[in-house]
Amino acid sequence: MSAMVNLPMPMRRLRTSLLAAVLFGIACAGAFALLLMLRPRVPGDVAAAEVLDTVLLWNSLMPRAAIALICGAALGLAGVLLQRVLRNPIADASTLGIASGAQLALTLGLSFSPLLADFSRELVAFAGGFIAVAIVLALSWRRGLDPVTIAISGMIVSLIAASLSVTLVLARGEYALSIHIWGAGALNQQDWNGVISLAPRLAIGGAVAFLLLRPLNVLALDDSSARSLGVALHSARFGILVLAVWLSASVTATVGIIGFVGLAAPAIARLCGARTTGHVIVAAPLTGAAILFLADCLTQLLGSGFSDLVPTGAATALLGGPLLLVLLPGVRSFSDVTANADAVLRHLRRPIAALATLAFSLTLVLAVVLILGPTDDGWDLAGGTLFTDLLPFRLPRIIAAGGAGAMLGAAGFIMQRVTGNPIASPEVLGVSTGGGAGLTMALMLFGFPSPPVMLFSMALGALAAFLVMIAIAARSVFSGERLLLAGIAISAFSMAIVSMVLAQGDMRSYILLTWISGSTNRAGSFEAWTALISLIVLTAPLFLMMRWLSILPLGPNLSRSVGLRVLPSRLLLAVIAALMTAISSFLVGPLSLTGLIAPHLARLIGFQKPYHQLVAAILIGAGVLMVADWLSRIIIYPYQVPVGLFAALIGGPYLLWLFGRKTSI
């Protein structure tokens, strides 16, 4: 590197950029030529086939190529705008929740008001995307739009939006085919309408971006310098943000979610030598266009006949995880999320009494959810024969939910302790979705696996996710925000795998959808016993590891200095946490956020010692999910909301409150 610095850099960079551009150009041209040559032929009568072939070429293949270029460019542009305006190298329509917000809005539109969705898909998508990004920014506002906070809030908003969409799909039954496809953006075209509507938008976006070049350049500096240069900071930021959201929402409205192109394009452009804002603004859309075009050609070439191998959006989403990991070193968190991890707000003078109160409340909750419920003729306290009749339906699901909640509480506790990070949790660290990737693999290998096989594959997936993350994070001495970002990367990668199978729209996707939404409705004795036994077996050893759990949050150096072998202790705890996560996500789905809430609440109440915190986290976790389970089965009786989703809807606002508080978490 030092030798290169002596050479004239601009020339060298220009050469790299040109070379990269030429290579991209050749790759695209080559792929398209191959596609044209190898495109499937229409059978039958020669003259008719000729006519159809021409129609296909000009009304399907060509507009598809054009839309790939346009969407790629639009997403690339949106990505670079978002990254500049938020000074965040991992900002993108996918990480900020814009795409899933737009998707949710369109799904809602389709389900409840077809007329509205019909009137302007774009407007509906924009509204959804904008609300999502507004929530994400509001969440991270107090932390000065810190990149790590934004990424985490973005991921959680995405998760909640996606799970709401999933619930709507499930509620509509199997006929929501268009949502399946659309969730993993497919680029198929049957005329030029998509191109005609998107091309001018891209042109306007490009033009406005050029006009905003100066404010953009200035925005890359810090706020005070920017203000002193005379840029109306907030309005410039807001304007650019709106432009970026509008561009990505338009793409989502036209072709669906195309994952992570906005993240990849500026990164690759920079890798190829683009440095100044001006360069990146030109290079990123071009790179984005090339990436999406190549991905689309590839999925068409690899598919048989006229069918694609996978939806293009799912294919590009696979890029997301690895890219985030590559970009990791460049992310500087300026508001250190880990610093005040152990700031206890108040101290409980009599923790044992508080624990006893918690345990008593849990018993009370158990009694209420067992007895009280709606019947055909209004509310009823079940007693006598009715109680014994209903017990086989109520008890297993309550135990499954409670057990899963307890395990999630414990797993979240371990993760927060091990990472010294107060918002580490199975959901945030990508361990839950890793389990989903494992389940997906099992579905692909076995078709319809039995529950134990499903459980085993999920445990493997969760463990793999956690181990990959430990490997990555260990290289940067396991620092808190590295770990969170690595978790988001793993989450993105796992979800890309899941959505490829989801896009198949068959029985397996139905199983995955059911898993994502997390319902305890099917819980029988197998699930109840699984929950109970694994809770006991996995929690018991934790009480022998209390010394580790109290030392590890102090950081690796301090831990080493008191004679703790950091890596093995972390590994063992990680295995336990991964197993707990996998089993509980098998029972209540991956989204519940209980693993975040329970340990956090325990600390907030004022439990200080790890031992007390662990017990409190377990009790709170169990209570939260039991209540969520009860609410989920009564709220739209006889229809039921999946409990995992319902808990996420409670956990989301909790997180919002958490981030919104002025003091540190």
């Binding site: 006519v51 159809l52 296909l56 009304n59 496809i181 896009a503 319902s519 409705n521 229809y639 039921q640």
Partner: protein
């Protein structure tokens, strides 16, 4: 060879059936209260006049399967994926019919009433033949002669349609369900619709197997590869998708469209039993004949 014993059995059974038909008025009051999670079994039970006290997703059923109509008194159990067992318990069924799709619920429901399982959709087996067997079995179990009648009527009707279609253009038929403006699902030879096509002597334009149901979504371009076929659109489909598709240059250039070989029929449950098959056959006959007569 097999005709003789079968005839004897059939005669005997229809004799028994007639006997029960005579006492059907009295039977109604004491008819077993039945429930099911599966839509194919639900439509079978309703079609043969069983006393269905509870079933799943009735609102959606009324929109997609449309017929047979569900009585007001039948309790809705919620989504098929997450049936509400407490509501099932409150409806006090004497007998629960389940299918292989919901085997996981057998143990739970067994605590409410005896569960009997029937499979209509099994990998590598004809859903039509299985539907006939299941209808017969349920009819016998509930002592409802209408079961056997349903099978025989449909069989006769399909034979009649076969004769009628024999005089037609004998082009293959492509039964599809539109997903959005660019994707559709197709029903192969091993689906219920595929079976009906086979039985009325029409070829399915989609030659691949589709593992008894519909394929994964297929790109709309594939329609070009079947220029000879009749395209039969099976709703429900999103209104905007239908409009966007039928307005596109590609659609208008398709031979089937230019030669007026597109029929939109009524909504049918794609995982149905004999009532769905019967509905499809009727729509097909009516649709193809209506189009041919302009």
């Amino acid at each position: 060879m097999s005709g003789v014993p079968q005839l004897t059995r059939r005669t005997m059974l229809s004799g028994t059936a007639a006997l029960f038909a005579a006492t059907s008025v009295r039977a109604q009051a004491t008819a077993p209260r039945v429930a099911t999670l599966d839509w194919a079994l639900l439509e079978t039970l309703l079609a043969i006049g069983a006393n269905v006290v509870a079933a799943t997703e009735l609102r959606q059923f009324a929109q997609i399967a449309v017929k047979p109509e569900v009585p007001e008194t039948t309790v809705d159990l919620g989504l098929r994926g997450t049936p509400n067992f407490e509501a099932l318990r409150f409806s006090r069924p004497n007998l629960i019919f389940n299918s292989n799709f919901y085997t996981w619920a057998d143990d739970l429901m067994g605590r409410i009433a005896p569960v009997e399982s029937h499979a209509i959709y099994k990998l590598g087996e004809s859903p039509y033949a299985l539907a006939e067997r299941v209808t017969l079995a349920i009819g016998e179990r509930l002592r409802l002669p209408a079961g056997r009648r349903l099978i025989e009527d449909l069989s006769v009707r399909l034979d009649r349609y076969r004769l009628r279609f024999a005089e037609s253009d004998r082009r293959p038929v492509l039964p599809i369900n539109l997903g959005d403006a660019r994707h559709y699902r197709v029903f192969g030879s091993d689906s219920m619709f595929g079976e009906v096509l086979n039985r009325v002597g029409l070829a399915n334009a989609w030659t691949g197997a589709t593992s008894y149901s519909a394929t994964a979504p297929v790109g709309i371009e594939t329609l070009a590869s079947m220029p000879d076929a009749w395209i039969v659109l099976i709703p429900p489909h999103p209104a905007d998708a239908y409009r966007a598709l039928t307005g596109s240059a590609f659609w208008k250039a398709l031979p089937a469209v230019r030669e007026d070989r597109v029929v939109t029929i009524g909504s049918i449950n794609p995982y149905g039993a004999l009532p769905a098959a019967s509905r499809f056959a009727d729509f097909l006959a009516e649709g193809l004949i209506r189009v041919r007569n302009g």
